[in-house]
């Protein structure tokens, strides 16, 4: 599975690693849904750390699309909500 961390590149995770990410993603989703900024930061940090440490960086010249995308490691809850709500991503 390929995971992109916004602003920090793409990582390849094998199945076992991806399985470890699933509960962290669920936790992240829960914090966003209930609007808990502090818990959100922790969940995001945990997910980003797992992807960075367990995954291997995808070569910069690869054009592979990601299966899932994590918000930027320093994103705020407000930013993420905006990202999820909007269609304002500049794809050029």
């Amino acid at each position: 599975m390929i995971v992109r961390i916004l602003g920090a590149g793409q990582y390849k995770l094998d199945e076992a690693q991806a399985a470890r990410l699933t509960p962290l993603d669920a936790e992240l989703t829960a914090t966003v849904d209930r609007g808990d900024e502090q818990a959100f930061k922790q969940a995001l940090d945990a997910a980003v750390t797992l992807v960075r440490e367990a995954g291997s960086a995808v070569a910069a010249d690869s054009l592979a699309t990601s299966d899932v995308i994590l918000p930027s490691p320093d994103a705020s809850l407000t930013e993420v909500r905006k990202l999820l709500a909007e269609d304002g991503i500049a794809l050029g």
Partner: protein
């Protein structure tokens, strides 16, 4: 679908948003081959934008650095004032100078955190620019291969793949640029305020300047000290001239000693 969207994983949702964008752009293209050239052109533009972003952030960072140097000088100057004032027994002036210094120091700390933040943005944009650059190169090569090797119908799948991959990167880079621009705009507003402050003389009135009450006072004290020492010198001259008439005072007046002590020193040949 709408009902499940709220509980769908955040990571999945973000990727779907990116993908939907790419698909929408693809749908607008009538000729797949045209897509390739058009998309490539946009990629090159985005690359220019992100590189300009790096340069802009660097400019802001340098400006903040310059202001930090100015404020540091100002802080040092206030400290010197405080020492001078204290040496002359003016604790009130020393206190006032240190209060000024504390104000400057507060602004300096603020600038230091701005500097760190700009540095971070610069690193992020540099990374984004490198990633995009590598992907654009790949896209360009692939674009030519697709055009040369495949019929329009065959090319479609390959074009979609390449386009989706690069679109995701473009979306990511676009967000990075936007974040950097937001941060830089905030800092520029604050940097502008500090520039105005520096220019208005509130901080940089400088030595002997009329805006700086502490320095004016110290200068005045310095001038009166000069007058005092001049007076003392003159008094001294008058006293030494009158020495011969007051013989009784005598022995302590080394300056008046006519004996030529140096000539009496033994010289080894």
């Amino acid at each position: 679908m709408k009902g499940t969207a709220a509980s769908m994983s955040v990571m999945k949702r973000v990727s779907l948003i990116f993908r939907a964008k790419a698909n929408k752009a693809l749908d607008r293209m009538e000729d797949p081959r045209e897509t390739l050239d058009y998309s490539y052109q946009q990629q090159v533009e985005m690359l220019t934008r992100v590189r300009r972003g790096v340069a802009d952030v660097a400019t802001s960072r340098k400006r903040v650095e310059l202001q930090m140097n100015q404020l540091q000088k100002e802080s040092d100057r206030r400290e010197t004032q405080a020492r001078t004032a204290l040496a002359q027994g003016r604790e009130d002036l020393a206190r006032a100078a240190l209060q000024q210094k504390a104000g400057v120091q507060g602004q300096l700390n603020d600038l230091q955190s701005q500097f760190a933040s700009l540095q971070e943005q610069e690193e992020k944009l540099t990374f984004a620019s490198q990633q995009l650059d590598a992907k654009v190169q790949t896209f360009r090569t692939r674009k030519e291969t697709i055009k040369a090797t495949y019929t329009a119908a065959e090319a479609q799948t390959r074009i979609n793949e390449a386009f989706s991959g690069i679109s995701e990167e473009m979306g990511d880079v676009g967000l990075a640029i936007q974040r950097a621009e937001d941060k830089t705009a905030q800092m520029q507003a604050r940097a502008g305020a500090i520039d105005e402050l520096l220019a208005s003389g509130a901080l940089e009135d400088h030595v002997g300047g009329s805006h700086d009450a502490i320095q004016a006072e110290l200068d005045k004290m310095g001038a009166s000290t000069d007058v005092d020492s001049e007076l003392a010198r003159m008094k001294g001259e008058l006293t030494s001239k009158s020495v011969p008439q007051i013989e009784a005072n005598g022995s302590g007046e080394a300056a008046a000693d006519p004996s030529g002590a140096s000539a009496a020193e033994p010289q080894d040949g």
